[in-house]
Symmetry: C2
Subunit: 552 residues, 2 copies
């Protein structure tokens, strides 16, 4: 037997690591990847009894009798991290955005998952993005946060107002600049995201400024490593205290992870309380702090832009420092802001990336394998499904049924086990009489039951219609009549009654009828791309809805 | 000139530290303690030009001309921290609660600020507390969280249900135990508090278990320091992934602060993803992890108790591991849970402590200085104020006016500058004609304007009434007639009109009339304690209301 080794170091794979990662359904919930056992459930003397490589898998028999099967590709896969440290960020200075800052129109952000992913990726990688043409109405900022995460309520409420009112007695009134800072360092956990939505900006001046705090920290590390070390080690007492609040957090200005990578920056002189340290440490801290503060003010690090009515800035509050330039001339300025967190944004982005990959994959299927012949019918597979979708759309069907019609035969493309394409010949030979289930199961990884269940039942619907409508069977194509046998023949009256009682039965029958009619030789159909926005809208965008239950 | 030194180390006080802590109103917002300057605003060559000690203060003239004045007591004060690391916790094992767990009745928790502080302090110091007799209605858990903080919404929603339904087909149905774990380690920031509210528990078994994760980590450190170090250094990829979510956080199982103190524990085998490390590091991690896991299961560390209908458990989710014992017999069990954060809980506790200290201080005043004679009247100061409060209460006045009546002369106890008690003789000598303002300003540190403004205006109300009601002046006591002159005499008609237009004028007049009547020689009054719950309820309990505005 081959001695399994880890791909990175040619040492034997540690038994507990390997077993802890067993992907079988006994060990891991297939719905959410959560393990179903505790590490202490494994025997102390756990060992590999036997292992073999076969079919691209490492198969292991364990000393306790359990069997595991690992894809070799998994063994050598890399780590996908949480993208929270400096190594996963693109550090920047002001001039890097000479050609423009990351931005998108609100309408495009809502309609196009690729645009939405681009905006969220900018926040993750660059630390910020601006949405333009967001409706300039009160509380809209909460809706923006809701597109990727959850509002973090604080003692300032769900949202806060940043307002400068003109002073009618003093037209030359100049509101002071606000130096670059992060918000709420006295909170722990500190809000990791901030949103600022401009409802009005009639002021001259009062522009928004951003500084990449990771870049500033990196500069400090390279220019004065000792000062960098002091700021990562010194616990700074951040405090906010008023009549009804007393928030305290003792955290370093620059937080590094156990590998020494910059992870969070807190910078806000206003809320630094009194450090109580020996004098020499105070001297060292204030020297390092002043040096770091001076770096954050370097002109080349500043990015300035104007937020106008309808603009919404989203930024990383544990990385970027934000600022406001002085008002040169009077005028109302009103922003509404709220806090949210990076973890949900990253989750939304990851799901959007998966969903965009699914749409890309479906498009490839329609343009590749789907362009092949369809069971001896006079249309291609893709042509057939596109026709079905067009028929659904023309009949005024809701979007989820158009999607079900479009995707009803997608199971034909996959073998249930290997996910390899199934040829029409194999189906004709009776190999796949469960393509409706294969397709529905595959689709259920991204779509809800409104889409998947009509797909799952569309073959049963044929057997049902053959049982309850004699004229329906007479109208079947020759190929469809042939596969009816493979599929189980017409339902018995008892089966038909049971089917009709299923929640999705009516939708499945509708899909079935479009399916049957979608075999015109020369029907003009739009390309798959036409349906892409409709499919995109049906992909669940955030986790609150459709969550089957809490996993702790 | 004396060379100022820090009290801990007899070295000269660092100039930037001292200046950064200047308490003057130019440097620091008196409402919230936030600094009004940036560290970079200070000159590079900042130095002390001169300093003297006088009147218990260090007075400093700076090289840039600024003057600062520091109480000597402040110079030698200790650090008040954020109470988040092991040093601020009472570590425990199960037997420590043989006499009972920290708990309170919901009604007492709501009514009594001291009880409320005790519960929150238990969560902060021990990691948990149980509220009993909480109304067993859906969504009530959100109201519990709202008494000390803000609900952290996640992909599970605002709240989540933990339900085990009886299986009518299998009465012997046994639901499995859930091993001790922390929740949501794949989230970052992880929710630092969890609440579990029992709506129903008809099951036999299914008890709740808690383990002090800091204690477990401490044991690991003392028994196997190398393993402890491995767990603080190794970034564990926590993952939760389903159709609509993909949360990832790379964090150590045991997080220490820059001083090496245990700060957070994450422990959840279910959501540990695949570590990608050299084989030797994987071996070391799994050995340390298994040792730590075994410690968390030691019988002496387990605390088990039952949550019954109406019980709400609040616990620290970055310290305590929670568990559920197996069900021995079937029965419905339904909990509702939500997440919140420790920082707001600590803030609420700090404010409650301040408020309880204020009530204690007022009680001392009423029982001490207040028991002295009142300006030659036939009652004591305390007797006078208690009578006024009783009159207000008998007239059906709202609580805030009863409080204003009770506290209307509290300014007599303080000299505006020194806060030392002012004697009746001094007042008679015309020393304090502003006691209403002194009192209102002092009260405004804890009470809202509904209480403070009638106090502020009650002397003006006398001058107003003398102006608009001739018979009112005729009824004044001799002492009151005397002080009328000190206070400015009756208002002019213009002054009276201006006064009547003030928002609090009517309330102030009401307080004034009780004030005037509250001079009975032998009126029976309840002690100060009688009014304490009423005052407690008027002290702002949380930060959302009454916040003047956001400070970043």
């Amino acid at each position: 037997m081959p001695v399994p080794t880890s791909s990175t170091a040619q040492a034997p794979l540690p038994a507990f690591w390997l077993r802890d990662n067993c992907p079988c359904e006994q060990c891991r919930d297939p719905r959410n990847g959560q393990k179903l056992f505790q590490i202490t459930d494994l025997p102390e003397d756990l060992a590999l009894a036997a292992s073999t490589e076969q079919d691209g898998h490492l198969e292991v028999l364990w000393s306790d009798g359990h069997r595991s099967r690992y894809p070799l590709a998994w063994l050598s896969a890399g780590h996908r991290g949480d993208a929270r440290t400096e190594q996963d960020k693109r550090h920047w200075q002001g001039a890097d955005f000479a050609a423009g800052i990351p931005e998108a129109r609100w309408a495009d952000y809502l309609a196009d998952p690729a645009e939405r992913a681009a905006v969220l990726r900018a926040v993750q990688r660059l630390g910020f993005a601006v949405l333009r043409e967001v409706p300039a109405v009160e509380r809209q900022v909460l809706a923006v946060a809701g597109t990727f995460g959850y509002v973090r309520e604080t003692n300032y409420g769900e949202l806060f107002d940043v307002r400068v009112e003109p002073d009618p007695n003093n037209l030359a009134f100049t509101s002071v600049a606000i130096a670059p800072h992060t918000d709420n360092p006295y909170r722990d956990p500190v809000p990791t995201l901030q949103l600022l939505h401009c409802l009005e900006n009639a002021a001259v001046g009062g522009d928004s400024g951003l500084v990449d705090g990771f870049r500033a920290a990196e500069l400090l590390r390279s220019e004065a490593p000792g000062d960098f070390a002091v700021l990562t080690r010194t616990l700074v007492p951040f405090v906010f205290r008023d009549r009804v609040t007393e928030l305290r957090a003792d955290r370093p200005l620059i937080e590094t992870d156990p590998l020494g990578r910059i992870r969070e920056v807190r910078f806000n002189n206003r809320s630094i309380g009194t450090l109580r340290l020996p004098a020499a440490e105070l001297e060292a801290f204030y020297a390092a702090y002043r040096r770091f503060a001076a770096i954050t003010l370097r002109p080349e690090l500043q990015l300035e832009f104007r937020l106008d009515r309808g603009d919404c800035l989203i930024f990383d509050n544990v990385r970027l420092l934000h600022a406001r330039t002085a008002f040169e001339q009077d005028g109302s300025r009103h922003l509404q802001g709220c806090y949210a967190d990076l973890d949900s944004l990253a989750s939304t982005l990851a799901v959007l990336d998966r969903q965009n990959a699914v749409l890309d994959g479906l498009q490839e299927l329609f343009e590749g394998a789907g362009a092949e012949e369809y069971l001896g019918e006079a249309v291609t597979q893709a042509g057939h499904m596109l026709q079905a979708a067009v028929l659904a759309q023309r009949s005024g069907a809701p979007d989820h049924l158009v999607a079900a019609a479009l995707l009803h035969d997608v199971g034909h493309f996959f073998d249930a086990d290997s996910h390899r394409a199934v040829t029409g010949k194999e189906l004709m030979a009776g190999h796949d009489n469960r393509h409706s289930h294969t397709g529905a199961d595959w689709l259920a990884r991204w779509f809800g039951p409104q889409v998947t269940e009509p797909v799952r039942l569309h073959v049963a619907a044929k057997r049902y219609l053959c049982a309850v409508e004699p004229q329906y069977r007479a109208g079947l194509s020759a190929a469809s009549e042939f596969t009816l046998g493979v599929q189980g023949g017409p339902m018995t009256p008892a089966q038909a009654a049971e089917f009709a009682a299923l929640p999705g039965a009516e939708d499945a029958v509708a899909v079935r009828r479009w399916d049957d009619r979608a075999k015109e030789t020369d029907a003009a159909t739009p390309p798959f791309e036409h349906f892409r926005p409709l499919l995109a809208a049906l992909l669940a965008p955030l986790a609150v809805n459709g969550q089957p239950g809490k996993a702790s």
